[in-house]
């Protein structure tokens, strides 16, 4: 452990001095284990319900990153807290502290550990991202053209010649892959359905294709704008219901489409 060198050139402190470094590292290890256990226990209550495999994967990445984050942040917190309790002097100090300097091994070790953490985050993120985006659209995939404008969403279903315009809710079928083609009529908007894990900008004059997403949970969700788009930005949300294939078909017909 590179941190073990933090004592630096002060290894020969007076024998009466307790072994601070060992103590603080034990405290850190214990608190880290407790912290990770607490997080794993409460995570299911903190992370929102995922309604697609993509959102589930995103939530899982969140879980993993937090498991890593707990010991990393506790490292600073524990060293800071320990120093403030043990090394604090009441009133103005009359003498100076031990002028420690980091050994080269500590510096290089620290850089090595942080680089490895960094590398892990990068590789994890890239693998997860390319897995999510690798699903190819098939003949079964539902194509949905999403048009944003100030301040509403319109979903068009070209395979059925149907549109969500005039509907109270927007519907998607459960367990069927869907691909969104997102664009904007006026300014920049942000297309987001949190429960499906889809979030991409709606750019004027551009059509952006999202990853292929399969909603897995029947339920009612919302599509929201997540880029400030003017006066009624905060009202730019609509209900998106994930429903059974039968209900979806009847909704499509009610919206003027043909099966």
């Amino acid at each position: 452990m590179s941190e073990a060198n933090i004592g630096g050139n002060a290894g020969s402190a007076s024998p009466a001095e307790p072994r601070h470094l060992r103590r603080v590292l034990i405290i850190w290890a214990v608190l880290s284990v407790i912290g990770i256990a607490i997080w794993l226990a409460v995570a299911q209550f903190i992370l929102p319900q995922a309604a697609s495999s993509l959102d589930g994967a995103d939530n899982f990445t969140f879980l993993v990153l937090t498991v890593l984050a707990v010991p990393v942040s506790l490292f600073v917190f524990v060293f800071l807290g320990y120093s403030l309790i043990v090394f604090r002097v009441q009133g103005r100090p009359t003498e100076d502290g031990v002028p420690l300097q980091p050994r080269p091994s500590l510096q290089i070790g620290w850089l090595g550990v942080t680089s490895l953490l960094c590398l892990f985050l990068l590789i994890w993120g890239l693998i997860a991202f390319y897995q999510e985006t690798s699903a190819a659209s098939t003949s079964n995939t539902l194509a949905v053209q999403v048009t944003a404008q100030q301040w509403q969403w319109t979903f068009n279903y070209p395979q059925y010649n149907a549109t969500s315009a005039g509907a109270q809710v927007i519907e998607l079928p459960v367990n069927r892959p869907v691909e969104f083609y997102v664009t904007s009529k006026d300014v920049l908007h942000g297309f987001s359905i949190r429960a499906l894990g889809v979030r991409v900008d709606a750019n004027p004059g551009e059509v952006t294709t999202t990853a292929v997403i399969t909603p897995t949970q029947i339920g009612s969700y919302t599509v929201q704008c997540v880029e400030l788009c003017g006066l009624f930005h905060s009202d730019m949300w609509e209900a998106v219901n994930v429903v059974s294939a039968d209900s979806f078909n009847s909704w499509i017909i009610s919206q003027g489409g043909h099966l």
Partner: protein, 650 residues
């Protein structure tokens, strides 16, 4: 030293000559600026009406003319061009007496209201401005929290709300950019490197008064209909907006960015050429490194902000189409220009605050910095890497997927030099003799908040988690933890630390502790609740809270009351201290940097004789624990100075 003592008496002798003291000053500047702006507005109104096919004036052109004339005539009125004018047309060089007059010699408090070149005057002007702007910015924040406490519209309609959010954002961003480099970079930094003034004293005054001139431009947006874009000013929304309130935003950015550029060039030149004998680059106090790297970064970043706002203004005034997709423009162009400034700018704010924390930790742990060169390397690493990380703001922009890998690599690399900062600070505290003063409390708060801010940044840097958090409240909470939790806490640490040197009085420590605890508890509570709201999917910038997010928003608003209480505690502390605070001694904290070797109040030109530096200013403790005890004075004597200034010890 005597000139500051006698300043009041001399000022009273000069009082009969009212014209002399009013012109040039900020009063004549404002008068001439307003007159010039009115004339220019009238003129352009007439011209655009005459040339318009349907006889309607071009409001945006009129607004632009008014702002341009305001800045130009304000500077004529305040006497900013007098020096240039005399240099060009006078038959002789200015005498030293005239230069001292310009530096505010014997002008009492009035020197703070003139085009004064003394770096300490400019530093105090910046400090007062930072106070005022922070006050307005925090009031904006409380209005936001008030509105967000319950779902639906309570107090403000969406237009007012959007304008408040945008104003809060711009005020706070601008203020945090200048909060350390302005007051401390101008007042403390030249003394720290052993200089008598900045390299370009007139440019120094210019940079401050440009900032001053930008403030009325910014607030004029309230009279012109506000702006709907938030602080990011995204086009094409900014081009679509009809009210000229948007032009106020663009012009504020222009004037502010020019001010920052001027200040940056001045600070860089000062540190390059004005260091005293023996003050090598390897002996610079860490604050100097932090400020210099920060302003170098702002020189790199701000030009693209200036360019983007000029393009928006051209789209608005001359109907060009840089950002309009319908006629070949692109909103991505704006996003790239903006974030090429926007992300380095975060580090423009963070670097000096981090440097303040490091500077103070050495003093209050009574230990040399744990790896000075390592930390300098870390700060340099941050400033280099921060130029190439802006892409993560465009993760979800719909750009090519292949771009994600380099964006993600750059963004995550920057956590390595940031990690160095934590190693150095924790190492400096380790086995120190920690003196937990109010400035040190703020440094500890900074460490805690910066860990949270940095770690939550990882979730936004990793694309799988960013695509559920982007554009949401999680982002808001994250950048508040870095900009407020690290930035503003660093500013307050520096303020409680240098206030005795700058003002000559001690801020009350008990009120300071109250300020800290109210601020820290309120701050962590508010933004932890918003992290939760963001994780559930609450979007940013929403005027009306959607019902599912009501509870975390209410909790956040309740904690914000504590922050409000901390603001007023702080204001009371400053007023109380100014009126009946204890007088500070020359070396208030027993620190070893040069600013503590000069008397308080610091005389004009700072040093009677320039000091000679022989080592780093962190000579605490004996060089090696095994070596025989060396008298502390010997190590302190690393800074030799002759003749020795009278220095109070307590």
């Amino acid at each position: 030293m005597s000139d500051t003592m006698s300043s009041t008496t001399v000022a009273t002798v000069k009082r009969p000559n009212l014209i002399n003291s009013l012109f040039p000053s900020v009063i004549s500047g404002i008068v001439l600026g307003v007159v010039g702006a009115a004339l220019a507005g009238l003129l352009v109104n007439r011209i655009t009406t005459a040339f318009s096919p349907d006889s309607v004036p071009n409001d945006d052109a009129v607004t632009a003319a008014v702002y341009t004339a305001w800045v130009l005539f304000f500077f004529i009125g305040i006497g900013a061009f007098n020096g240039v004018f005399k240099w060009a047309f006078a038959r002789r060089e200015p005498t030293p007496a005239e230069e001292l007059q310009l530096a505010g010699k014997d002008q009492g408090l009035w020197r703070y209201f003139r085009f004064t070149t003394d770096h300490k005057v400019v530093g105090m002007q910046y400090l007062a401005t930072v106070f005022v702007l922070f006050f307005f910015g925090s009031m904006g924040a409380f209005m936001i929290r008030l509105e967000q406490s319950r779902p639906g519209a309570i107090f403000f309609n969406p237009q007012t709300y959007n304008t408040i959010v945008g104003m809060h954002g711009i005020i706070m961003i601008a203020t945090t950019i200048i909060m350390v480099s302005g007051p401390f970079g101008n007042f403390i930094l030249p003394i720290m490197i052993g200089a008598r003034d900045m390299a370009f004293p007139r440019l120094n005054a210019l940079s401050y008064w440009l900032l001053f001139a930008a403030i009325p431009i910014f607030f004029s947006t309230l009279a012109l209909g506000g702006f709907p874009t938030g602080w990011t000013g995204y086009a094409p929304l900014a081009v679509q907006e009809l009210t000229p309130g948007m032009d106020a935003y663009c012009f504020t950015i222009l004037v502010f960015a020019i001010s920052t550029t001027v200040a940056a060039m001045n600070i860089i030149t000062t540190v390059m050429v004005m260091r005293t004998k023996g003050m090598t680059w390897g002996r610079l106090p860490i604050l100097v490194w932090g400020v210099v790297l920060s302003v170098i970064l702002s020189l790199t970043a701000f030009p693209s902000f200036i360019v983007s706002q000029i393009m928006v203004l051209m789209d608005r005034i001359f109907n060009t189409s840089f950002f309009l997709a319908a006629s070949g423009g692109s909103n991505w162009l704006y996003e790239h220009l903006f974030w090429f400034m926007g992300h380095p700018e975060v580090y423009v704010i963070a670097l000096p605050a981090m440097a303040v924390a490091a500077e103070l930790t050495a003093v209050f742990a009574r230990k040399p910095l744990f790896g000075y060169r390592l930390l300098v390397g870390g700060l340099v690493g941050i400033s280099v890497l921060s130029v190439i990380v802006w892409g993560h703001h465009l993760y979800t922009s719909g750009s090519e997927n292949a771009l994600v890998a380099p964006y993600m690599l750059d963004t995550e690399l920057i956590s390595i030099p940031t990690g160095i900062f934590f190693l150095v600070l924790v190492g400096t505290l380790w086995r120190g003799k920690i003196w937990l003063t109010v400035p040190m409390l703020f440094v500890c708060g900074l460490l805690v908040n910066f860990v949270i801010g940095g770690i939550t940044g990882i979730y936004l840097a990793d694309l799988p988690t960013d695509e559920i958090l982007h554009g949401g409240m999680f982002v808001t909470a994250h950048f508040h933890f870095t900009l407020v939790g690290a930035g503003v806490f660093g500013f307050f640490a520096g303020l409680y630390y240098w206030f005795p040197k700058m003002v000559g009085k001690r801020l009350d420590p008990l009120l300071g502790r109250l300020h800290f605890w109210l601020f820290e508890i309120g701050f962590v509570g508010t933004f932890t609740a918003l992290f939760y709201a963001g994780l559930q999917g609450e979007p940013r910038w929403s005027a009306n809270v959607a019902p599912p997010f009501a509870t975390p928003n209410l909790i956040a608003s309740l904690f914000a009351i504590l922050i409000a209480a901390s603001v007023f505690t702080f204001i009371y502390n400053v007023i109380h201290t100014l009126m009946r605070g204890e007088h500070a001694v020359a070396n208030e904290w027993g620190a070893k940097t040069l600013e503590w070797t000069v008397p308080t109040p610091v005389p004009l030109e700072n040093f009677e004789e320039l000091p000679v530096v022989t080592s780093l200013p962190y000579g605490y403790g004996s060089p090696l624990p095994e070596s025989p005890v060396t008298p502390a004075a010997d190590i302190a004597g690393a800074i030799t100075q002759a003749p020795v200034q009278p220095q109070a010890e307590d």
